[in-house]
Amino acid sequence: MRVRAPLAALPYTSPMNEQPASSHIGRVIGTDPATPLEFWVAVREGCFLQLDDVLVLERRLPGSDGPVRIYGMVADLRARHEGARFDSDVFLIEAGVLPAQVTEAARVLATRFEPEIYVAPVPGDAVHRARGDARDQALFFDGMKHRIPVGLSRDGEIVHANMEFLDGTRGAHVNISGISGVATKTSYAIFLLHSIFTSGRLGRGAHNTRALIFNVKGEDLLFLDRDNRNLDGEQRDRYAALGLPAQAFRSVELWAPPRRGDASAAPRTGSRAEGVTSFFWTLDEFCRDELLPFLFADADDERQQYTIVVHNVTARLRREARPLDDGGVRIGSDTCRTFEQLIDAIRDRVEDPETQQDWAGRAIGGGTINAFVRRLYAARKDAEHLVRADVPNPAKHRLQFQEQVAVVDIAKLSRRAQRFVVGVVLRRTFRQKEETGSRKPLLFVVLDELNKYAPREGRSPIKEILLDIAERGRSLGVILIGAQQTASEVERRIIANSSLRVVGRLDIAEAGRPEYAFLPPAHRQRATISKPGTMILSQPELPVPLVLEFPFPAWATRPDEAGGPGGGEGEEGGGDPFAGLEGE
């Protein structure tokens, strides 16, 4: 926590000194009880308040020099007729027959007490809008030494997040929930990266900080290095308001799986061909790095008998596969250059009574071996183009990240292949970070559909890695920016370890689940009507989540938006800026 000066030494500058005394926007009402954490404010005639407005009031305490400043945020508003007793009175009032008064009141959730004396505001206390420094104090922005802009509030002010809760100093990881299509989860994750990279808060480490992004759906993320031609002046202004450049990512590399049946392993992408490199693993890497378990979704599940065979075969491959120059392997007398040849060789050995004990393990029943072989062959179609040694110069296709942002496209892969790629890539990057032993430079990993990779139930190799990242990544500088439709279906520990929680549009039933207990009821309700581009962000220092908007991507998300490479000027476009974000 921030070191606070003792009460007497606190330089007292009233936030209201900036404004004339008559600038109060309303007063605390006494007809509803005022509590330290929640109170109602009647809005003065001729003024208005909207949700998320930040307010401040002062209460003088007997025997104390300075007042207690209570900061809060509008969580709800109500307007009603005073003097009306029946619903139909509204018609009489509007017809000019019955006298009545319209009153408006705002429910305020307290965010901060300065100094920390938790008293209730007194009915009648004048309430002011918190602007400038007062607003920063209300939202704890003043105590954030390293802060990054994470969006704009409804009234156009910058919303900050504390970088210390992102870079591992005091916390790490971001978790984003929301319905596909309207929640713009990936867009927000990429916007966060943009802010992290370009807001200048990373200091010396900025150049070495990297991001690894998995593109799980469509081709939205294959144009990150291209400016968005549809970015209009209004959106540019919003970037300017945030203090961020409205430009694409400067340093991007794109990886895609190879085309099936293509002898030269050309990358399989739709609309983007140039600048994309295909990736696969050689049979040698597959054996040496023990990648076999990643082909099996439940390879760590102890209830499954065949998993012992998986682990025995993996160990055998590592020991007995001799590398060939072109990435192939020789196992005994068998030379393998394709995945099929490799699994044939494995099958021979686990089924042959002479080698069975070494390869499958002791006292393994025929049924168990059959189960393993069946699964192995089921994986053939998914993995044969990703694990191979039939392409010249395989080193070129080895996933090695050089640029600041690496996008790995797995959208067109089967579920099994997706899990394989994500699992293998994450394990390798995590191990590399482990070996360096230092937190910096940071590596950000963006992964959507966490529920697929780290479901709440069951165990799998990839879930173990994600848990490892969630629990140890903070100290190793591996920061997970994970997203999913429904947080209730994702492993609890992954969500629990995320410092920043972000919620876009939620399904009504989902919003009621305990995973979203950090949202006050009004915010939960709002999450069910959030528009694309609106997110609710909860961060550790703030007791109240903040509703924010983020600008339309400055980078292209589809071919027709793609302008020049990062930094070029785009043409102006119109219409709904989020209209194109359906295929998230």
């Binding site: 003097g83 007793r85 029946f86 139909s88 009175d89 009489l92 009032i93 509007e94 000019g96 027959v97 019955l98 006298p99 009545a100």
Partner: protein
């Protein structure tokens, strides 16, 4: 002049905390001339004449009063005399496009024989308001008079000069001395029968929005009056009937014009039985105004405790209030 030596609150009295409703007693012995507008024998229900004046604005003036405590005042001679502490309020609601309460005043009075002083409490100062006789009726009349004065004051704030396009309606009968310029009295209940049998039948046969001819009432002072029916009401033949009063100074022609205007305008303000016990006669704007006025009198329990406290202080402090 007598000096007040002691004050005490009567422990309990039935009128505490209840706003006094209804109009003050109407003079029973009145002389009536039914032939002012139409000869006595030709009485019939009248519709507003075609092209009759419809006021652009209707102002309703009303007051409420509430006895907060009945007190006993002990003078130097040791004789205890009764008095009352009461709150009263008056206001104007203007119905033009919207119904707006344009002015509102609250007063608090301490009514008793001469010699009483202001009573300062946490809920405001009860101004000494001497009355000549201290029987209950005179004390209440004193209160009524204060409220009437306040009604005149608020009406003057609301409309400093009579507006030819507006109709000013005072809830209750007109009173001889407290005059609101151009106002008519609006009487909801019919405790006194002013009309002889023939014209009385005409009242019962009125349709909604119809009125009787204007007639003259003379008690200690003279005024014009007429009956009208607000709405078709169930029950007895006089349900939905109200009586209006106007000062004779206006002249019969103007009073006929006003009478037509009331028949045209007032039914629009009539209340419905499910919203008001005194429907339809208790007009919506007046009911709304009264609710606000009673609200402004403050919480009766709070005022009562403030009075108890003030009287306790009166006895414990050296100098009388």
């Amino acid at each position: 002049m007598r000096r007040v030596q002691g004050l005490a609150i009567e422990g309990w009295s039935p009128e505490y905390g209840t706003a006094v409703e209804g109009d003050p007693e109407e003079a029973p012995a009145a002389q009536v001339d039914a032939g002012s507008e139409v000869p006595d024998g030709e009485w019939r229900p009248l519709d507003p004449r075609p092209g009759a004046w419809v006021p652009a604005r209707v102002d309703f003036v009303d007051g409420v009063r509430r006895v907060e405590a009945r007190v006993w005042i002990t003078g130097e001679d040791g004789d205890a005399r009764p008095g009352i502490c009461a709150s009263y309020a008056a206001g104007v609601v203007s119905c033009e496009r919207k119904a707006v309460i344009r002015s509102l005043k609250v007063g608090r009075g301490f009514f008793g024989l001469a010699g009483i002083q202001d009573l300062v409490t946490r809920s405001g100062t009860f101004r000494a308001s001497p009355v000549a006789e201290d029987d209950v009726q005179q004390l209440m009349n004193g209160l009524q008079e204060r409220m009437g004065q306040l009604e005149v004051e608020v009406a003057a704030v609301g409309a400093p000069a009579p507006d030819p396009d507006s109709l000013v309606v005072l809830d209750g009968p007109l009173r001889g001395r407290q005059r609101i310029a151009g106002a008519i009295g609006y009487v909801k209940s019919h405790r006194v029968q002013y009309l002889p049998a023939g014209p009385r039948g005409v009242v019962a046969s009125l349709g909604p929005g119809q009125r009787t001819p204007v007639f003259l009432i003379q008690t200690t002072w003279t005024r014009f009056s007429w009956y009208m029916r607000l709405t078709e009401a169930e029950g007895h033949p006089w349900a939905g009937i109200v009586r209006c009063e106007a000062w004779t100074e206006s002249g019969l022609d103007r009073v006929r014009r006003i009478a037509d205007a009331t028949a045209a305008a007032l039914p629009g303000f009539a209340s419905e039985p499910h919203k008001d016990d005194r429907a339809p006669q208790n007009l919506y704007p007046i009911a709304g105004l009264e609710r606000e006025l009673r609200h402004r009198l403050g919480d009766p329990g709070m005022v009562y405790r403030a009075l108890q406290r003030a009287i306790f202080d009166f006895h414990t402090s050296d100098s009388p209030p």
